[in-house]
């Protein structure tokens, strides 16, 4: 596959295919750092924790397609857990991140995998990413262990570093290759005919989430 295509005139006229992607994982494993590396090619030591969720987009060219990633970077903290379904429910791709220096974060990643397998779109493409390989000296999750788990569960698997940039683009590239585009396009068609051609095909549809979430009461306005 050719991945290096520039944004030439032909592709500029093409309508991008929107791919909804969600990042999940324990807090502080490096989800936000991975997205910022991917989208802006920037990295910040001591990134402050995400509150709620952050939304970013990135356009990429894959073969002769233009893909527009719409990325939800979620906060890993316990108190936002009940909001997670709102972000992964309609996602076509998920990046589940753990920290190779923290075994507990892999366990958390596994519970995310289970939750997605149970509740997300059945065709969702999932990548398991062990982040912070620049800290390989402090590694406490063996490559083989995580890889074996990923294979068993049909996940893409990478070790990466947001800090050095190692493997970051590869994660999104391989995900992009595995997305069933025909299906998305078909879905969009039916969706378009239903909603009279709205411009926001296939985006994370926050409107479909249930209204009975335990938010501690809606405000009164």
């Amino acid at each position: 596959m050719n991945f290096s295509g520039r944004n030439d005139a032909a592709s500029a006229n093409m309508k991008p295919i929107q791919v909804k992607l969600v990042l999940l994982g324990e807090s502080a494993v490096g989800k936000s750092s991975i997205v910022l590396r991917f989208v802006n090619n920037e990295y910040q030591d001591n990134k402050e924790p995400t509150i709620g969720a952050a939304f970013l987009t990135q356009r990429c060219k894959l073969d002769d397609r233009i893909i527009k990633f719409e990325i939800w970077d979620t906060a890993g903290q316990e108190r936002f857990h009940s909001l997670a379904p709102m972000y992964y429910r309609n996602a076509q791709a998920a990046v589940i991140v753990y920290d190779i220096t923290k075994p507990a974060s892999l366990e958390k990643a596994k519970t995310w995998v289970k939750e997605l397998q149970r509740q997300a779109n059945p065709n969702i493409v999932i990548a398991l990413v062990g982040n912070k390989i620049d800290l390989a000296n402090n590694r406490s999750v063996p490559y083989e262990e995580a890889e074996a788990y990923a294979n068993e569960n049909g996940l893409l698997f990478f070790e990466a570093s947001a800090k050095t940039g190692t493997n970051i683009i590869e994660v999104f590239t391989e995900l992009a290759k595995k997305i069933p585009y025909e299906q998305i396009l078909a879905n969009n068609k039916t969706l378009n005919s239903r909603t009279n051609g709205q411009g926001d095909n296939g985006r994370v549809n926050l409107n479909e989430s249930e209204n009975n979430n335990q938010d501690g009461g809606q405000c009164n306005c």
Binding site: S27, N41, L206, G216, G217, C219
Partner: protein, 597 residues
């Protein structure tokens, strides 16, 4: 259990174990709501014993008694230090352990003309104060550190760390069951013995249906805020008043509501008394840390007012109109800020904004995690409605050149090749410090609000608003030179009507964080005198070694100013009148007509 403890303590007291208490019992003054000025009542002695002797009465570990001896160490150093100073100035204080005697009202009030009353502290007194600050207390180098780094630096301290006891101001939050929730310094889980002691002290009064409010020792002030299921405690050596510290605790309490809502908080502890709230608050420590830090370096919290961004009225109004025109249907507030300053706000007609809510929002959005992304976070504005969440859309606006083929989509076009992930287009995009915050009650409104942001950003760029804002940023800060008054160093002007304030640029000596902190302390002192005094006080000043600071309060404004210490107070007073006249003439200071819908 607390009954038992009480009896136990009483018994010890009888047995004479109370002598040699670590804290200076002779100077303990307790204030509690039932019994406002019970000085050295038997109960208070008993409580002090609870602190000191708790190791023998309950399951409190030894590390705790170490701390207390450490505190005693500081205590003694301070006293020694103080008596040295006192010897040189007056011997009146040598027997007294009350360091801050010089700030008692009696010493300070002297009636002046026109029902204005002034305070002064003479040179010697302020000297004492300053020396005390300089001699014993932890040396701070934290002013340029991010909250993340601060936590890294101090987060592993515990009761046995020699630095831990030296911090000038501690904040602790625990559950009513005594479980640690937050500590400004140190690892909460290592502080459970201390939390146990605090809980014991509080429940001791609870038995009598009383509430402990404040403990004054010769060196420390310990202020309690009981908001069952949470207890908040401040241990301070900063000479701030009980009211001022209490307000800071109220801010921290509201920061917790901001993350959880009162409904969740109550429910959690109703279901499980022993719940470890740190699980639910993880990630918010930095916001608490930032608040704790800002209490000493940001006047907003003293003034209980919003810091406004100074721009021409026309520009402010046209921004407000644009915001209102393009606002999403279902929002509560639309807020435009530049760093920690409010540019404009749009709101429903009947809805007022409370400065506390705005302070919490500004504290949140100044986190770096809001840069370069669009954020969608459930938050609770405690003063608006402490029971429910709102959803905050937060995005820092970009300044970009509009191309001829206007593309409403400002996203960068990139490919997956690793060589150049950023396309040339994006080089025209400049990040700004202008931040748009939209608050909606609807958790599904993200894309609607995001589209509105796109429109607002584009229209701002079309009208050169972001460019104009970035141009005037230098002029937006009030310059002391604008007043043309020699020896004037710093001014804060607060409008009591609009609950907004403006402050002059921090020129030398106040560009130094330590000097600025000192200035704020003197303002805090003046504030406490004006607002703490029964009679209708309008004006007071304090002359110190470093500056002459004044506060003048009228119905519609508060004016704080600092002058060179070599200027007479009469001159300074006359200058204040001029400064006030100057402010009255300005029309670009505050948001006076916010757009309503």
């Amino acid at each position: 259990m607390s009954n038992l403890l009480k009896e136990n303590l009483k018994k010890q007291e009888k047995d004479g174990l109370s002598s040699n208490a670590g804290l200076n019992l002779s100077n303990l003054v307790f204030y509690n709501s039932g019994n406002a000025t019970s000085t050295l009542s038997t109960t208070s002695t008993t409580i002090a014993n609870a602190v000191v002797n708790s190791t023998s009465t309950s399951n409190i570990s030894y590390s705790n008694s170490d701390t207390i001896s450490d505190i005693r160490g500081i205590n003694e150093r301070l006293i020694r230090n103080k008596s040295n100073l006192s010897n040189s100035s007056s011997s009146k204080y040598t027997q007294s352990n009350k360091i801050f005697d010089n700030f008692s009202l009696d010493n300070l009030i002297s009636p002046v003309e026109n029902s204005d009353i002034e305070y002064t502290s003479d040179f010697g007194n302020e000297d004492n104060l300053m020396k005390i600050y300089n001699s014993s207390i932890y040396d701070y180098d934290e002013d340029n550190m991010s909250p993340y780094n601060l936590r890294k630096k101090y987060g592993n301290e515990d009761l046995t760390s020699s630095n831990w006891v030296k911090h000038r101001k501690h904040f602790f939050i625990l559950s009513s069951a005594g479980k640690p929730i937050y500590s400004r310094y140190g690892d909460e889980s290592k502080l459970s013995s201390l939390m146990g002691v605090i809980q014991a002290i509080i429940s001791f009064y609870d038995v009598d249906n009383d509430e402990i409010c404040c403990i004054n020792t010769s060196t420390h002030k310990i202020v309690f805020l009981l908001k069952t299921p949470l207890y908040l405690v401040c241990v301070s050596q900063t000479n701030e008043t009980e009211e001022q510290l209490k307000l800071q605790l109220i801010y921290l309490y509201n920061q917790i509501l901001f993350s959880l809502t009162s409904v969740q908080l109550t429910k959690i502890f109703h279901d499980r008394v022993n719940f470890d709230l740190r699980n639910l608050l993880s990630g918010t420590e930095i916001y608490m840390d930032e608040l704790s830090r800002k209490f000493s370096i940001d006047a907003s919290f003293l003034l209980k007012a919003i810091r406004s961004f100074r721009i021409k009225n026309e520009l402010r109004n046209s921004i407000g109109e644009l915001l209102n025109t393009y606002r999403p249907k279902n929002i509560l507030y639309g807020i435009l800020t530049y760093n920690d300053k409010l540019i404009n706000i749009i709101k429903p007609k009947k809805q007022n904004v409370h400065p506390l809510d705005i302070h919490l929002i500004i504290n949140m959005i100044s986190s770096t995690s809001f840069r370069s992304v669009e954020s969608w976070s459930p938050i609770c504005l405690p003063k608006y409605n402490s029971r429910g969440f709102l959803y905050a859309y937060v995005c820092y606006l970009n300044n970009y050149k509009l191309s001829d083929t206007e593309d409403s989509n400002s996203n960068t076009n990139t490919n997956l090749s690793s060589e150049s992930p950023i396309s040339p287009d994006s080089s025209k995009i400049m990040k700004t410090d202008v931040c748009l915050t939209l608050l909606s009650p609807d958790k599904n409104a993200f894309f609607e609000l995001s589209n509105c942001k796109k429109k607002i950003e584009m229209i701002f760029n079309k009208n050169d608003i972001l460019k104009n804002l970035s141009k005037i940023i230098n002029k937006a800060e009030l310059d002391i030179a604008d007043f043309g008054i020699p020896h004037l160093r710093h001014v804060i002007y607060k409008s009591t009507k609009y609950l907004q304030f403006i402050e002059t640029k921090r020129l030398p000596p106040y560009d130094e964080p330590s000097s600025y902190r000192r200035l704020l302390r003197s303002y805090k002192f003046l504030e406490s005198k004006i607002h703490g005094y029964k009679k209708n006080l309008k004006f007071c000043y304090m002359l110190g070694k470093n500056e002459l600071s004044l506060l003048w309060v009228r119905d519609d404004f508060e004016l704080y100013a600092s002058f060179s210490p070599f200027i007479s107070k009469t001159i300074a007073y006359n200058d204040l009148l001029l400064i006030e006249k100057w402010f009255k003439k300005q029309d670009n200071l505050f948001i006076t007509t916010s757009q309503v819908f």
